[in-house]
């Protein structure tokens, strides 16, 4: 194993680096699917409907499909690059190998912030759901949501601490139930099974685009909700048995699942709920799929979609803990952060210090920050990450053309997906600026400050040579 060469016709592999305790390769494509779809599916259960409020039901559908194109590009690009850069850290590791250390540091922070904020938002939502169940069961008092918010974070962190296989198998089961619940609701309310209750024509007549095309543009901000987080599949890269096969398979199956789930969700909810109610996610429909089930009059559907909502929330928080800890761990391993974070548990084979370290941060945001602000910071970090991806893949193809390095998957029509993704990111930045301009500027200011800190101080500690342990050939032109 000592002399390895990635361009070898005879063998594939990496040289020995002295790993005594590393992450465990136990996952398959289904776990990758569960990680990606699990993080996202909560966006179908709640959140996407703010797009209806911004521009009406048709605007939400247009945003759903445009965001679908954006995320299909993300999934294809990610599948190609990650099937090659098969290491924990996902896009952080891609940036480290392909762009450079400053980009890698920023991307690592985008990932950690996006996932930790989303984890906090999910815990807040789970606490709210428990309070709804309490009031539905006749509890007259004011339920304290805090113990349930903390329990969600602590239980899922414990699960992640104990091992990745159990964590993502748990995600697979609850994500599958949440997805099947959407299918059953569609079949039951559309008339395929039993009598249909949908009235698209009556509900939308005269309200096709209530705020015109600017409403469609504004809806793009919340169009991201249908798919936000599918790129998280890349964080499993160092723990799948066969990265070259499992990562593209799981990621692409995941985006296909989400395209189906998002379209069915829009169709089902917009055919039952008036757009004014559907579009108000605070005082109107907080959980549109659950509200649709309630209007169906079926107790079975109410229970199924109730559990679907809770399971989708838990799956998302669970996947976020997994992903944030891997990104933090990978940065620690390369000394972009203190190397102490790069430790692996010798028994459970998980990045245990990173998992435990991020628990109090998630708790602070879950207990002390308003939900909309937490979500906005998560979306903005994600959007910055998507903007990096097209630049990354263009550089990847230029430095290592197709015949120089093995890929598990080669995405088609390059550079078209990268250009489309870049254009859609630009449109979405403008849409976010319309609604959350102050937060957008604050977020970019924050990343500029930490970039300066990294450049002038932290970079001296980075393991500059040792961080590149993949025996790739020299890039073209170097």
């Amino acid at each position: 194993m000592a002399n390895t060469d990635i361009t070898s016709k005879e063998m594939d592999g990496f040289g020995p680096h002295g790993t005594v305790v590393g992450l465990l390769r136990v996952l398959g494509p289904a776990h990758v699917w569960a990680l990606g779809v699990g993080i996202v599916l909560v966006g179908e259960y709640m959140g996407w409907n703010f797009a209806v409020g911004k521009g009406g039901a048709y605007a939400a559908l247009i945003a759903c499909w445009f965001a679908g194109i954006l995320y299909s590009c993300v999934a294809m690009i990610d599948s190609e690059v990650t099937s090659t850069v098969a290491a924990a850290g996902g896009q952080y590791t891609q940036a480290k190998h392909i762009v450079g250390p400053l980009m890698a540091f920023n991307v690592g922070l985008y990932l950690t912030f996006a996932y930790t904020m989303l984890e906090a938002a999910n815990a807040i939502t789970a606490g709210y759901l428990v309070s709804v169940v309490a009031s539905m069961t006749g509890y007259a008092g004011e339920l304290d949501q805090r113990p349930f918010i903390i329990l969600v974070i602590m239980f899922l962190a414990w699960l992640n601490y104990r091992g990745v296989l159990a964590t993502l198998t748990f995600n697979l089961v609850i994500t599958a139930i949440a997805f099947v619940a959407i299918l059953v609701l569609f079949l039951s309310t559309s008339g395929v099974l039993g009598g249909g209750i949908m009235q698209h024509a009556a509900l939308m007549e005269g309200h096709e685009l209530p705020y015109g095309w600017i409403g469609v543009l504004a809806a793009m901000h919340f169009g991201l909700w249908y798919y936000l987080g599918i790129e998280g599949t890349t964080q499993a890269a160092e723990e799948v048995r066969s990265p070259a096969r499992a990562l593209p398979f799981g990621t692409l199956a995941g985006i296909m699942t989400l395209l189906i789930a998002a379209t069915l969700t829009w169709y089902t909810c917009s055919g039952v709920l008036p757009w004014e109610y559907l579009g108000d996610g605070v005082d109107g429909s907080v959980a549109p799929l659950f509200d649709t089930a309630r209007l169906s009059g079926s107790t079975g559907l109410v229970w199924l979609l109730g559990f679907g909502t809770l399971f989708a929330t838990l799956a998302s928080a669970n996947g976020c803990i997994n992903d944030a800890s891997r990104a933090w761990f990978a940065m620690g391993r390369d000394k972009y952060l203190p190397g102490w974070f790069g430790a692996v548990h010798p028994r459970y084979r998980t990045p245990y210090r990173s998992i435990v370290f991020l628990v109090p941060i998630a708790l602070i945001f879950a207990l002390g920050a308003p939900l909309d602000q937490v979500i906005t910071f998560s979306i903005l970090s994600g959007l910055l990450e998507y903007t990096f991806m097209p630049l990354n893949v263009i550089m990847f193809r230029k430095k290592w053309p197709l015949n120089t390095i093995k890929r598990g998957y080669e995405h088609p029509f390059h550079p078209l997906p990268a250009i489309v993704l870049l254009c859609l990111c630009g449109i979405t930045f403008f849409a976010v600026f319309l609604g959350y301009g102050t937060q957008l500027i604050a977020m970019i200011g924050f990343y500029i400050v930490v970039s300066l800190w990294f450049h002038f101080w932290r970079y001296r500690f980075v393991s500059r040579g040792a961080q590149f342990t993949m025996p790739w050939p020299k890039p073209e032109g170097y």
């Binding site: 194993m1 390895t4 361009t7 016709k9 005879e10 063998m11 594939d12 592999g13 990496f14 020995p16 680096h17 002295g18 790993t19 005594v20 305790v21 590393g22 992450l23 390769r25 098969a86 290491a87 924990a88 850290g89 590791t93 309490a134 069961t137 509890y139 008092g141 339920l143 304290d144 113990p147 349930f148 903390i150 329990l151 602590m154 239980f155 962190a157 414990w158 601490y161 160092e238 048995r241 066969s242 990265p243 070259a244 990978a330 391993r333 190397g339 102490w340 790069g342 430790a343 692996v344 548990h345 010798p346 028994r347 245990y352 210090r353 435990v356 628990v359 093995k406 342990t469 993949m470």
Partner: protein, 55 residues
């Protein structure tokens, strides 16, 4: 005491137990193994044993 109040206390208790487990196990692990062993992980280490595909 109502059921939901009891559930609130149970949630506090279980959260504390899970937190204690993680912190105790963390301290035990850090004192049992050397730092060199715990931080010896490098990216791509096991690839050779799982990937045998060729171009």
């Amino acid at each position: 005491m109502e059921t939901w109040q009891m559930l609130e206390y149970a949630a506090w208790g279980v959260s504390a137990l899970l937190g204690l487990f993680m912190v105790a196990d963390w301290l035990k692990t850090d004192t049992t193994y050397s730092e060199d062993v715990l931080t010896s992980s490098r990216e791509g280490e096991l690839e050779a044993m799982t990937e045998e595909h060729k171009i």
